[in-house]
């Protein structure tokens, strides 16, 4: 669209308040970290001027996946582990939509792991929020792939036996990775900044958000919530910059160039302190929708004849 067209569009643009993006009343447990993610998303939609009818949130199954219900935009509450292929289909069919995915550590890293790996490789222009609370919360406390070793749960009463999977290092290891960041729900300003950068990145933007689950693993992140020194804030001119107010609280900072993937992998491996910021960004990686020419124009007649052809393959003709 040309600059003049954009100006003409802006004439009729409606400015939305944060409340305009509020859907139903959140039904998360008391103090749930998902509230902070919801607030940051609503702020992003308001500040980026996203039109509700042009925005869609897609989710799988889990506490995190309830988020589309609380956004007054389009939403698709899908099936377990399948948020990403649904989101990819939406983006292919409607490249003009802003597509966000809300998924959890069980939804994405366990049952949906295959889709996750390939979605990274396809690098479609969608923004993925991994709400990682290290536990299955909706089904009342079972160990997930990201539960730290020794986590006691209904399925691991003697403590989990395996080291936790790191969604960051996995993502950074997949071909065509283009954007990886980590945020925590208890630093809302940083969370908002990172989500904004993820949204603006053209490609598959993967944001792992460490999210508190006070109901089932209340003490999981306590040490980091209450000790700002145990948070490692990544800063860079090409990444995120921390506001002066936040700098006074979180003094443990590290300058990290998001173009450096090897350093990103090193930082991603750190569990304590927890790194927060943009680990990797490469805007040069091509998007799948661009490569396969999804923008190719098809007339109504072409679409009709293609569909007829497909349907005819399966039609059982009456004798």
């Amino acid at each position: 669209m040309s600059t003049a067209s954009l100006c003409l569009h802006h004439l009729a643009e409606e400015h939305h308040a944060l409340e305009d993006y509020q859907g139903g009343v959140p039904r998360w447990c008391k103090g749930c970290g998902d509230n902070a993610i919801l607030a940051a998303m609503q702020r992003l939609c308001r500040d980026e001027g996203l039109r509700p009818e042009k925005t869609v949130f897609v989710s799988g199954i889990g506490c995190s996946s309830r988020l589309p219900h609380y956004m007054r935009t389009y939403g698709f509450h899908g099936i377990h582990g399948r948020a990403l292929p649904i989101a990819e289909g939406i983006k292919l069919a409607r490249p003009d939509l802003h597509v966000f995915v809300n998924t959890g550590d069980g939804d994405c890293c366990s049952i949906g792991a295959a889709h996750w790996i390939h979605a990274i490789r396809y690098n479609m222009n969608i923004t993925v929020l991994l709400h990682d609370n290290h536990i299955y919360g909706l089904t009342k406390k079972q160990a997930s792939p990201t539960s730290p070793i020794g986590t006691r749960s209904n399925t691991t009463p003697r403590g989990s036996y395996l080291d936790a999977l790191s969604p960051l290092t996995v993502t950074l290891g997949v071909q065509n990775v283009s954007f990886v960041a980590q945020a925590v729900d208890w630093i809302p300003e940083s969370l908002f900044q990172i989500l904004t950068a993820a949204y603006r990145h053209r490609g598959f933007s993967f944001v792992r958000i460490l999210q508190r689950c006070p109901e089932f693993v209340g003490s999981m992140f306590e040490p980091w919530v209450h000790d700002p020194q145990r948070m490692l804030m990544l800063t860079h001119a090409d990444g995120t910059r921390i506001s002066p107010a936040l700098q006074k609280i979180y003094r443990n900072q590290l300058a990290h160039d998001p173009a450096d993937i090897n350093r990103a992998r090193e930082i991603a491996s750190s569990e304590d302190p927890i790194p927060v910021g943009i680990l990797y960004r490469n805007p040069q990686v091509p998007c799948y929708e661009d490569l396969r020419g999804a923008g190719k124009l098809r007339t109504a007649d072409q679409v009709r004849s293609a569909l007829d052809g497909e349907f005819d393959k399966f039609t059982v003709w009456p004798q």
């Binding site: 040309s2 902070a36 208890w186 300003e189 124009l297 007339t299």
Partner: protein, 732 residues
């Protein structure tokens, strides 16, 4: 003064050999500057020419040598067999280069076939050359560096850019047509007509029609037809936009080469008035198309608001076109000769008209005499001045180059063609027959000698001269004249290497019209009294007899000789150097103002240092770095700690760290009068007295991220205060 020297001095001063010197010594045949001796057999040298105007994707122009190299990389195996294939392919390449230099035309593949056929070799050779031919990644017309090259080169580059424009424009237009059609189709599908039983029946395949009762279906669906639909004004707008988009004549269907070529012809002109008239005639259609595009984009998004947009569309005029608007349309390509009458005025009109125009200015003669005549050359002043004049327009892209350098500047050239605004390409290609050198060498030596330096002015690269102006591609841009080494055998057959400058007079030597300004010096008189033209130009001697300027040249037999240059040519060379100095300054080289400022700052700095040194002299030696903080650092640290001290909150006062609030709703739901969310949905204390100290302490206890600090109670009469103060202690 001996008679020979006197005769040379007279020649230098007057350009004539004195009558008493006997017969004038003729210049040796085929004389050329000594530095060009090694390029005598140009067809055997793999240089930039001929070039291939590639038809397909990738680089739009490549040299023949690069095309063959690419094919050999793909086709020739490693080892001896591959080496043999490479040798034969290079021989074929040489045959092609030779043929093109002699005027052969056609495409690369045609020339390849002709060269292989002319070699008359065995089948094995032909098979090998067929393999290399099949591996050639590009094909297209071949072009030599001659007087026709600039027009052919620019037309090809321009056509490539137009093709891109057509592709982008058609993609935008066709997508909008589909979207508008979809709106009309959807509207029809919901209309009363579409929902009549007969029309419903037509939408079904024939096989299952008997299973449906279309009358009932029509009855069931017809209420939908009564729920609105497109109003008449919106329908009219959409239909108008669709008509304009479908009937536009600016962009032919992509992939139709014939239509594209015909369209290109309609935008190509050899004079400015005709181009301007054509542009004026097309303005109404351009306006309609732009309106239709904007309107279609708004309608497709459902964003058109009659009250807002209607008046704007009505008032839209072609005078309001922005550079971005014009960039959408095809560019006009105008080719002008620098010696055409009225070219200066025409060019000014074209560049200031707002027309999306790209102008090629063909400069064919750098040695045309200025109006008074008598050897005062304008050396490209017309072309050069026009290029300078174009820079004053501010938004015009300007590129000046010799034809020999066009391949090297192909990216810059295309950048100019994509520039959102007018562009001028001033290119020097000598007229055929005026130089004793082949076209490529004649053009290259014009650039090498600063007679026609390359430069570009790109408004898209920034807002100031430093970023916009570039002297790149000129050899040794820091120097007055580029220096090259020449190795030759002396009379004793010993190798001698000399550093020679390639000056303006070297360039002049190859021009047939000016041979009378040079006189060969017999070897016996090479001694005192002669200085190189470069030295002469640096400090012209007051007494001509103490320093006659000469240049080194070679004749047809590659024998080295010295040639004295007359004073008028040397004065022309001085003016050429001055013009080069002006260009250098524009390019930030030897910038006289910057150098003066630098000298002044250096003097000031030295003065300050001297004063400081004098004041420090009796003092004790300064502490080693790191022993103690500097004054500034200490002050900064003190300031920082003071600021921190100021910002430490008072533990006796209730407050919330709003920045860290995670929006969990606990406090706002428990005490909505006491707590509220700010614009970013983060909590703050809206009214402390609206609740009790107990509520405040309970809120602090329920806050998962511990950002509520209750402070001290404000009402001493509140019951249970002792217990509450104890509970509040962890959160102070």
């Amino acid at each position: 003064m001996d008679s020979q020297l006197r005769s040379q001095v007279v020649f230098h001063l007057t350009g004539r050999v004195p009558d008493d010197a006997g017969a004038e010594q003729p210049l040796p045949a085929g004389l050329r500057p000594a530095l060009l001796a090694q390029y005598r057999h140009l067809e055997s040298i793999r240089h930039d020419f001929p070039v291939v105007f590639a038809r397909g994707p990738g680089e739009y122009v490549v040299s023949l040598a690069a095309a063959v190299d690419g094919a050999l990389r793909a086709a020739a195996p490693q080892g001896a067999q591959g080496e043999a294939m490479r040798k034969r392919a290079l021989h074929t390449e040489r045959l092609i280069r030779d043929a093109v230099a002699k005027g052969a035309g056609g495409t690369l593949l045609q020339a390849w076939d002709a060269a292989v056929a002319s070699a008359g070799t065995d089948d094995a050779w032909r098979r090998e050359m067929k393999i290399v031919r099949d591996a050639l990644a590009v094909d297209g017309e071949l072009a030599e560096c001659d007087s026709r090259l600039p027009a052919r080169f620019l037309r090809h580059a321009w056509a490539v850019v137009q093709r891109e424009k057509v592709r982008a424009a058609r993609s935008r237009i066709d997508a909008l047509v589909l979207r508008l059609e979809a709106i009309l189709r959807a509207d029809y599908a919901r209309s009363a007509v579409a929902l009549q039983s007969a029309n419903l029946q037509q939408t079904f395949g024939g096989t299952h029609q008997a299973l449906f009762d279309f009358a009932k279906m029509s009855q069931l669906l017809s209420p939908a037809a009564r729920q609105g639909g497109l109003d008449s004004s919106r329908r009219a707008r959409i239909e108008w936009a669709l008509r304009v988009l479908r009937e536009q004549a600016f962009f032919p269907p992509p992939g139709d080469a014939g239509a594209q070529e015909a369209s290109n012809d309609r935008f190509t002109f050899d004079n400015v008035p005709a181009a301007l008239e054509s542009y004026r005639n097309r303005l109404p259609d351009m306006l309609s198309l732009l309106k239709a595009l904007h309107l279609a984009e708004l309608e497709a998004e459902g964003q058109f608001v009659e009250q807002l947009h209607g008046p704007l569309f009505e008032r839209m005029q072609s005078q309001d076109f922005t550079a971005a608007d014009l960039q959408f349309f095809p560019d006009y390509l105008v080719t002008l000769g620098s010696d055409a009458p009225g070219v200066q005025a025409d060019l000014g009109n074209a560049l200031s008209s707002g027309m999306p125009v790209k102008v090629l200015l063909e400069v064919q003669d750098l040695l045309e005499e200025a109006a008074p005549g008598q050897g005062r050359f304008s050396f490209g002043m017309r072309g050069g001045q026009l290029a300078f004049m174009a820079m004053t327009f501010g938004d015009a892209f300007v590129l000046q180059s010799a034809a020999s350098n066009l391949l090297q500047l192909r990216d810059r050239l295309q950048r100019g063609l994509r520039h959102a605004g007018p562009a001028l390409f001033s290119v020097y290609a000598p007229a055929d027959g005026e130089s004793t050198l082949p076209g490529y060498l004649a053009a290259a030596s014009a650039m090498q000698s600063r007679a026609f330096p390359a430069f570009s002015y790109d408004p898209g690269r920034g807002s100031n001269g430093a970023t916009r102006f570039s002297l790149e591609n000129n050899p040794q841009p820091e120097a007055d004249w580029p220096l090259e080494s020449l190795t030759y055998a002396d009379q004793d057959l010993q190798a001698v290497t000399e550093e020679l400058a390639f000056t303006f007079v070297d360039f002049l030597l190859a021009d047939r019209r000016h041979s009378q300004h040079f006189a060969a010096v017999p070897r016996a008189h090479w001694g005192a009294g002669l200085v190189s033209a470069r030295q002469w130009l640096e400090s012209p001697p007051a007494d001509p007899s103490t320093g006659l300027p000469f240049i080194l040249a070679v004749d047809d037999a590659d024998l080295l000789c010295r040639v004295v240059v007359d004073e008028r040519m040397m004065r022309a060379a001085q003016r050429c150097r001055e013009a080069w100095h002006r260009l250098q300054e524009l390019g930030g080289i030897h910038d006289s103002r910057a150098e003066a400022l630098l000298a002044r700052e250096r003097a000031l700095w030295a003065e300050q240092r001297a004063v400081e040194a004098a004041s420090l002299a009796p003092a004790v030696a300064p502490a080693a770095p790191g022993d103690q903080p500097t004054t500034a650092a200490a002050a900064a640290a003190a300031g920082a700690s003071a600021a921190e001290a100021e910002e430490v909150p008072n533990p006796d006062t209730a407050y919330i760290e709003t920045l860290r609030c995670s929006s969990c709703n606990e406090c706002t739901l428990a005490s909505p009068k006491m707590f509220a969310y700010d614009q970013n949905k983060q909590a703050y204390i809206v009214d402390l007295k609206a609740g009790t100290y107990r509520q405040l302490v309970e809120a602090a206890e329920s806050c998962q991220v511990s950002v509520i600090h209750p402070g001290k109670p404000w009402n001493p009469d509140e019951p249970g205060l002792d217990e509450l103060i104890e509970r509040a202690r962890p959160f102070l």
